[in-house]
């Protein structure tokens, strides 16, 4: 989907949501949610070509394949939790949004733990110790 289509959808969603807000608050929020989902999915369908390029770059730099898996996983976690957090803030639920944000941070940290271990091992091998 081109950028003009995305801008059009965003403006259309904003206008429709605003025009219905006074009569029906819940439906207004759901319209916003629907517009967000449409834009998000159209972006995600284009992103796979980017991944191919990144994978090829990592291959040519002979970086281990498990690192890129972790990287992609962390990016996905970021996207997902950010979407949920923004929806919760739109719905006026700050506490819920903060909880989701914290959960996302913790899960990102957990999935990046093997990298920390590798860094630690490298440092220890330089200094001559072991874990």
């Amino acid at each position: 989907m081109s950028i003009s289509a995305i801008c059009f959808i965003a403006v259309l969603t904003a206008v429709l949501s605003l025009s219905i807000r006074r009569q029906n608050h819940e439906i207004s929020f759901l319209i916003t949610l629907c517009g967000g989902i449409i834009i998000f999915i159209s972006v995600l369908l284009n992103i796979s070509s980017l991944f191919e390029t990144v994978k090829r770059l990592f291959d040519s730099a002979s970086i281990e394949q498990s690192y890129i898996v972790i990287l992609l996983k962390v990016i996905g976690l970021c996207f997902m939790s950010e979407f949920a957090v923004d929806c919760c803030i739109d719905a006026g639920q700050r506490a819920l949004a903060d909880n989701v944000s914290m959960a996302g941070k913790v899960l990102i940290l957990v999935s990046a733990l093997p990298l920390y271990k590798d860094v630690l091992n490298t440092v220890l091998s330089l200094t001559g110790g072991s874990v």
């Binding site: 759901l30 999915i41 995600l44």
Partner: protein
Amino acid sequence: MDVDMIFKIAAVGIIVAVLNQLLVRSGREEQAMLTTLAGLIVVLSMLVTQISNLFGTIKQLFGL
């Protein structure tokens, strides 16, 4: 998944708002409340598949 979805939801919202006003004016507050609830459930059931579609796409794309 298209722009039609937004128009559909907006149409449901407008219809529900009009029905709500009519029922409130004719003194049937409970039915007005139930109409609002029904509209909300209809729109939510339309959106739930899209939300699961979005999260499924993210999961499949990023290997979560």
